[in-house]
């Protein structure tokens, strides 16, 4: 089995207008930089994008908001993107504000064949609007539906031709669950390694979830808040 494709353009070639896409990353950490650039170039429109954040104004998913190519975002936190905040407040883009843990669980459940689940998160808030409430042990839980998407795009540190993936440090974040939620999952990796060279005990995303994989190039890995100590 060989899932390797040459580059990002080929990996995302069949993304269509109106598609739903889940994208891994937290802020601009662990984002699929090459695929986002290719989506900008492909100029697909009316996308529904599932991602914890909307990047920053000029990097990450922020690049897909410039025209905008996105009609709806399902995200938990968009505070770092002024353009996005303006587009939502003016009604040009729809935002389904979703608590971070609920977003993670929606993707996990979607990828795992579970259509919905009850969670205490958001009970008694506007997140619970029009959702079924059930009481367990005296506590309110709301029914949340899971998410699956047409495409899922993730970024990993290492991967092989079978699609096995290993992430690095907090660049893992949403990537492993996003990888499970797509009907077509695309992985870009910093380094493609030979099959057999990843210790099977250390695989984070088993290859079954991944349809296409390629080695990305020219990673910028921008830092949102550069904080240091002096010694």
């Amino acid at each position: 089995m060989n899932k390797i494709v040459a580059n990002a353009d080929i990996a995302i070639r069949d993304v269509f207008d109106g598609a739903t896409i889940a994208i891994g990353g937290f802020g601009i950490c662990g984002i699929p930089e090459n695929c986002i650039a290719a989506l900008v170039k492909l100029d697909v429109k009316n996308l529904t994008c599932v991602s914890n954040n909307a990047g920053i104004d000029d990097f990450g998913i922020g690049l897909l908001l410039q025209k905008p190519q996105i009609k709806k975002m399902i995200s938990s936190y968009v505070g770092e993107n002024k353009l996005f905040e303006r587009l939502v407040l003016s009604g040009e883009i729809e935002l389904e504000a979703t608590p971070q843990g609920t977003l993670a669980e929606k993707l996990r459940a979607g990828g795992a064949g579970i259509p919905a689940f009850f969670t205490p998160t958001g009970a008694g808030t506007i997140v619970a609007t029009n959702k079924e409430v059930r009481v367990y042990n005296g506590r309110n839980y709301i029914l949340e539906e899971s998410i699956t998407t047409d495409f899922a795009i993730v970024k990993a540190w290492k991967g092989d031709a079978l699609g096995n993936l290993v992430y690095r440090k907090t660049a893992r974040n949403f990537n492993p669950i996003v990888a499970t939620a797509g009907r077509v999952t695309i992985a870009e990796v910093e380094e493609l390694v030979p099959v057999g060279s990843i210790n099977p005990d250390m695989v984070h995303t088993p290859g079954i979830y991944v349809k296409r994989i390629f080695q990305g190039s020219n990673y910028e890995k921008r830092i949102e808040n550069r904080t240091t100590r002096s010694n």
Binding site: V88, L95, T125, W157, K169, T170, P176, I177, E224, T227
Partner: protein, 218 residues
């Protein structure tokens, strides 16, 4: 004298006990880490997927793949672990995190908290806050007592969209420490040089005042 941000952080740090797993929010809560005694056995959780946050890196140690939930560059402590967002919120909702410390726009007599949006004006998103307030064993809010235009952020009932209901245990501001009880908000401590009357005046919510009000120890 009202407390500085650093003094507020130092006061909140006294609520952290040995053996705690703690999640710190953005802003003043992040500063709390500076006041946890070095020899105290405490592990910091970051909801983007890490246990064992270390200090900020030196210039040479900066790693773009290693950030906290505020997207700041950080380091790892010996014994750290990394995991996915699902795992991170499983431990949060599952009640494994002992304490979360977060900022707020409003808190009320019921322990309700609002900290993620002002309709039509400001839209940040709730991030992990809704999960943290329902999942953590203890919830502490650290915030300014009043808004920039001087109105109380501690109210009989929150007016902004809520983050959670009946979840806050303790409120620390530049003026006071207030405990959320079944009977309402109880004033525990006043900042040095701040009178109880000044606190009552700055607070729109009803405060339970008894004789045992102490001065905050910074």
């Amino acid at each position: 004298m009202a407390l500085t941000r650093e003094q507020m952080a130092s006061r909140v740090a006294k609520e952290i006990h040995a053996g705690y797993y703690v999640n710190l929010g953005i802003g003043i809560p992040t500063l709390v880490a500076n006041y946890i005694p070095k020899d105290m056995d405490v592990i910091l959780q970051s909801e983007n997927g890490m246990l064992g946050i270390g200090p900020f890196p030196t210039e040479d140690e900066i790693d773009p793949d290693l950030i906290n939930a505020g997207k700041q560059t950080i380091t790892e402590m010996p014994g750290s672990s990394y995991f996915s967002a699902t795992e991170s919120f499983a431990m949060i909702r599952g009640g494994k995190v002992d304490l979360t410390i977060l900022g707020a726009m409003e808190v009320d007599e019921n322990g309700d908290i609002a900290n993620w949006m002002i309709p039509g004006k400001k839209l940040k998103g709730m991030g992990g806050a809704m999960d943290l307030v329902v999942g953590a064993k203890h919830v502490i809010v650290v915030m300014q007592h009043v808004t920039k235009d001087g109105s109380s952020k501690i109210l009989p009932k929150c007016t902004l969209p809520l983050t959670g209901t009946g979840v806050v245990n303790l409120i620390v501001t530049e003026l006071a420490t207030i405990k959320v009880t079944k009977n309402g908000l109880k004033l525990l401590e006043h900042a040095p040089g701040v009178s109880v009357d000044e606190i009552i005046k700055a607070t729109k919510a009803k405060l339970i005042i008894d004789k045992n009000i102490k001065e905050m120890v910074i």
